[in-house]
C-alpha cells in the first residue's frame, strides 16, 4: 500500500509553549506577591487592584488556566499529531483556539484586577468571558476530534482517552457551574443559592482539579514518559483501569470540600467514601509511571527530563494520598480552613503540574528545533532549585496549618478560648516568610529554564512543519471475535459519549437530590432577603474578594461556637447568590459578624485594620471611604434576584433606592454620633450595612424546643 507523506504542525505547539512560559512566570510572580502580602500587608500598595482579594484570584486563574492550560494544549497538540500520525485537523481552528485562549487570559487578568468577579473560586470570571471560554473550548474539541477522526493509526492510545475525557468533562463542569443571571455587562449572580451553590461549586472546583490539572497531564505522562525513557509504559492494562476508575470515582468526591458545613450529611459522607476510593486509581497511575522506569533508573541520574518527571509523578502520588486523608472528617476538622490545604495544593501545583510542564518543554523544544538542550547542567540546576523550592514552600505551610488549627482549638483550664484569632496568625508569620522564600526559589528555577530554552532555540533551527509518513488507515471488516472494548477504543465518539455518561452519573446522584428533596434545606422563617443597601454591600464584599481570606461557615465544633457563635444552618443561606462560605481563614470567620462591633469599629477597621486590631495583616480599604455606591444598578439587581425567586414585593425594584438611602442615612447618622463624618452614599456604608446583617436573621427565631429522637 502507498505510504502517505504529511507534516506535523510544530508552529502551534511553539505558540502554546511560549504562552506557557510567559504566563507561568506571570502567575508565579503574582503568587510570590500575594505570599509576601501575608507578612508585609503594605505590599498591597494600598491600591485596590493589587490587594490580596483581587491578586489571589489572578494568581490561581493564571496558574490553572494560563500556565497549566497552555502547557496542556502544547503537549496535547504535540502528542496527538504523533499518536494519530496525522496533522492537526485544521490550522485555522488551531489558531482560533490559540488566540481565543490568550484573549480570554488577557481579559481575565484585566477584569479580575478591576474587581469583576462572580465570587466563586476558580470560576471567578464574569459571564461574557464564560461564554468566550465555552466557544473556544468547542473549537478545541472540534480540532481534537477532527484530528482523531482523520488519523492513520488504528488504535487510540490511552493518552488520547485522557484528552477526550478532559474535554467533555470540563465542558460539562464549566457550563453547569457557570449558570448565572446577568445583571449588567460584567456583573451576574449565580443561579444557585447557598447550600446548592456550594455543592455545585465544589463539584466544579474539585473536578477542575481532576479534569483540568490531572487528566490532561496524565495523558501527557502516558505519552512523554515512554518517549523520554524510550520504553513502553509499565502496564498498558493498568493504564486502562487507571483511566476508567479515575474518571468514574473522581466526580463524586467534591463534597469533601464541605465537611462539617451545612451541606446535608449524606452528601458529605458520599464525598468522603469516594475520596478514599480515589487512592486506588491515583496510585495505580503513579506506580504505572514510576515502574515504567524499572531497570532504567541509571537514565534518571543523567537525564534532567526524567528527573523532573520522577518528582512530578511522586508529587502526584503524595498529593493523591494526602487528599483522601484530608477528606476524612476527623482530619478535615483540623486541616480545613488552614494553610495545610494551601501546602497540599502546591504539592500538586508546583510538583505535579509545574514539573510536568517543565519536563515536556525540555523535551519538545530541542526536538522541534532539531538540536540538543543547550545546557543539561542548567536544567539540572533548575530541577534542584525547583525541588528545594517545593519543600521550602510546603513544609512550613503544613507546620503553620497544624499549629494554627490546634491553637484555634485550645481552651484554658477554665474553659475559655486560649488564643485570640490574631495571636494564631502572628504566631505563624515566620512560616509565611519561609514559604515565600520557597516560592522565590521555584520562580528562580523557572527563569533559569527560560534562559536555557532561549539558548537552545538559538542553537537550533525551528522546524515549523515536520515531515512524517505513514500508511493510510483501511476500513476493516469486523472480525467475529472482537471484544467490545476494542470497538470502543477505535471509535473516539463512542469513547466520548461513554466518558460523559461515566462522569455524569456521580454528579447527578449528588446534585439532583439536593435540589429536589425539600428536607435537605430546612427553611428558617426569620431569614429574610437582603435590603438593597446590604445587597450592594454584599456585592462589594464579593468584588474585593473578601472570601479569599474570610469564611462564612461556622462548623459545629466547641471552639468555633465559642469563638464565633451559633453554628451555621443550611436555611440561613437561601438568598445567598452566590454563597460565600470561603475555603480559608486567613482572617476570622464572619458568619456571625453582624452586631458584634459598632458601625464605627468597621469604619475605622476598613480604613486602617491595625488601628482596631494591632498586628492585623489585613490590607487597608481606604478607597471605600471615598468611592460612591453605584445606585443605578440597584433596580437591575433586585429584578435579577426576583427572577431567581428571592421574594421581594412586586415593583420593589423601582423603590429600592429609596429604601437604600434611608438605611444609608441611618448608618451615616449613627457614625456621626461617634464623631465620624461621612457621606451616606459611600461604599463603606454599604459594606457596614452588609456586615452588620450577616448571620443575624437567625437570632430573631424563637428558640426551638429540644426534640427527642
Amino acid at each position: 500500500m502507498q505510504v502517505e507523506k504529511f507534516y506535523y504542525d510544530n508552529k502551534i505547539v511553539k505558540a502554546f509553549g511560549f504562552a506557557t512560559v510567559i504566563f507561568g512566570i506571570v502567575g508565579m510572580l503574582a503568587g510570590l506577591w500575594v505570599a509576601i502580602q501575608f507578612y508585609a500587608p503594605q505590599s498591597s500598595l494600598n491600591f485596590a487592584p493589587t490587594t490580596f482579594g483581587r491578586l489571589r484570584p489572578l494568581h490561581t486563574n493564571a496558574i490553572i488556566f494560563a500556565f497549566v492550560g497552555n502547557a496542556s494544549f502544547a503537549g496535547i497538540y504535540y502528542s496527538l499529531q504523533r499518536l494519530c500520525k496525522a496533522r492537526l485537523f485544521s490550522d485555522k481552528l488551531s489558531w482560533i483556539h490559540f488566540w481565543g485562549w490568550q484573549a480570554i487570559i488577557a481579559a481575565a487578568a484585566v477584569t479580575l484586577l478591576l474587581g469583576f468577579t462572580t465570587g466563586k473560586e476558580y470560576a471567578e470570571l464574569e459571564w461574557p468571558i464564560d461564554i468566550a471560554i465555552t466557544l473556544v473550548w468547542v473549537v478545541f474539541g472540534i480540532n481534537m476530534l477532527g484530528t482523531i477522526l482523520k488519523r492513520r493509526e488504528k488504535h487510540l492510545y490511552v493518552a488520547i482517552w485522557f484528552y477526550i475525557a478532559t474535554w467533555i468533562t470540563v465542558a460539562m463542569l464549566h457550563i453547569v457551574n457557570s449558570i448565572e443571571i446577568p445583571v449588567s455587562f460584567m456583573k451576574s449572580y449565580s443561579w444557585y443559592a447557598g447550600v446548592q451553590d456550594a455543592l455545585v461549586q465544589w463539584w466544579y472546583g474539585h473536578n477542575a482539579v481532576a479534569f483540568f490539572l490531572t487528566t490532561p497531564v496524565l495523558g501527557l505522562m502516558y505519552y512523554f514518559l515512554p518517549k523520554a525513557a524510550n520504553r513502553p509504559v509499565y502496564s498498558y492494562r493498568l493504564s486502562i483501569i487507571h483511566f476508567w476508575s479515575l474518571i468514574f470515582i473522581y466526580i463524586w468526591a467534591g463534597p469533601h470540600h464541605l465537611l462539617y458545613t451545612s451541606l446535608p450529611d449524606w452528601a458529605q459522607s458520599l464525598g468522603v467514601v469516594f475520596s478514599i476510593m480515589l487512592i486506588a486509581p491515583s496510585w495505580g497511575g503513579m506506580l504505572n509511571g514510576l515502574f515504567t522506569l524499572r531497570g532504567a533508573w541509571d537514565k534518571v541520574r543523567e537525564d534532567p527530563i526524567l528527573k523532573f518527571m520522577v518528582v512530578a509523578i511522586t508529587c502526584y502520588g503524595m498529593a493523591t494520598f494526602e487528599g483522601p486523608l484530608m477528606s476524612l472528617k476527623s482530619v478535615n476538622a483540623i486541616s480545613h480552613f488552614s494553610d495545610w490545604t494551601i501546602g497540599h495544593v502546591h504539592i500538586g501545583g508546583l510538583g505535579w503540574n509545574g514539573f510536568m510542564a517543565f519536563a515536556i518543554l525540555y523535551y519538545m523544544v530541542p526536538k522541534m528545533w532539531g538540536t540538543d538542550i543547550y545546557s543539561k547542567k542548567l536544567a539540572t540546576n533548575h530541577f534542584w532549585l525547583g525541588t528545594i523550592g517545593i519543600i521550602l514552600y510546603a513544609v512550613p505551610l503544613y507546620w503553620a496549618g497544624f499549629t494554627q488549627s490546634l491553637m484555634w482549638k485550645s481552651f484554658t483550664e477554665e474553659g475559655q478560648l486560649k488564643f485570640q484569632f490574631l495571636e494564631t496568625v502572628t504566631n505563624i508569620i515566620p512560616m509565611y516568610i519561609t514559604r515565600s522564600v520557597g516560592g522565590a526559589l521555584y520562580l528562580a528555577g523557572a527563569l533559569v529554564m527560560v534562559y536555557n530554552l532561549v539558548k537552545t532555540m538559538a542553537k537550533g533551527k525551528f522546524v515549523a512543519n515536520e515531515a512524517a509518513e505513514a500508511q493510510p488507515l483501511v476500513r476493516e471488516v469486523a472480525h467475529k471475535k472482537e471484544y467490545w472494548h476494542r470497538v470502543v477504543e477505535r471509535k473516539p465518539l463512542t469513547l466520548l459519549v461513554l466518558s460523559l455518561v461515566v462522569v455524569a452519573i456521580g454528579g447527578l446522584l449528588e446534585i439532583i437530590p439536593t435540589f429536589l428533596v425539600k428536607e435537605n434545606i430546612p427553611t428558617i422563617a426569620s431569614v429574610k432577603p437582603y435590603t438593597p443597601l446590604e445587597l450592594q454591600g454584599r456585592d462589594l464584599y464579593i468584588k474585593e474578594g473578601c472570601y479569599t481570606c474570610h469564611s462564612q461557615m461556622i462548623r459545629p465544633f466547641r471552639d468555633e461556637v465559642a469563638r464565633y457563635g451559633e453554628y451555621s444552618k443550611a436555611g440561613e443561606f437561601v438568598y445567598d447568590h452566590p454563597f460565600q462560605w470561603g475555603s480559608k481563614r486567613t482572617g476570622p470567620d464572619l458568619a456571625r459578624i453582624g452586631g458584634k462591633y459598632p458601625d464605627s469599629w468597621h469604619y475605622n477597621h476598613m480604613y486602617e485594620p491595625s488601628s482596631m486590631s494591632p498586628g492585623s495583616i489585613m490590607p487597608r480599604y481606604a478607597w471605600m471611604l471615598d468611592n460612591l455606591i453605584d445606585t443605578s444598578s440597584t433596580a437591575a439587581k433586585i429584578r435579577a434576584m426576583q427572577k431567581m425567586g428571592v421574594p421581594y414585593p412586586e415593583g420593589y425594584d423601582k423603590i429600592a433606592n429609596r429604601d437604600l438611602m434611608k438605611q444609608a442615612d441611618a448608618i451615616a447618622a449613627n457614625l456621626k454620633k461617634e464623631k465620624i463624618e461621612t457621606l451616606s452614599n459611600t461604599e463603606i456604608v454599604a459594606v457596614i450595612a452588609y456586615l452588620q446583617r450577616v448571620g443575624t436573621d437567625i437570632k430573631a427565631e424563637p428558640k426551638p424546643v429540644a426534640e427527642n429522637k
Partner: protein, 53 residues
C-alpha cells in the same frame, strides 16, 4: 442531620442508594472483564504506539 432521617422521611429515597451501588459494581465488573480478556499481544502492540514515531 443524619442520613437515617432521609431514609425515614423521604419515600423512594432508597432507590438512589440501590442504583448507586448497582452502577458502581456493574461498572467495575464490566471494566475488569474487558481489561483481562483482551489479547496480550494486542495490548503490547498498542502500548508501543508512542515509540514508533
Amino acid at each position: 442531620m443524619k442520613f437515617i432521617n432521609y431514609l425515614e422521611k423521604i419515600s423512594g429515597i432508597d432507590i438512589y442508594g440501590l442504583t448507586s451501588l448497582l452502577i458502581f459494581v456493574l461498572f467495575f465488573v464490566v471494566m475488569l472483564t474487558w481489561v483481562f480478556k483482551t489479547d496480550k499481544n494486542k495490548i503490547k502492540e498498542i502500548s508501543r504506539i508512542p515509540l514508533d514515531n
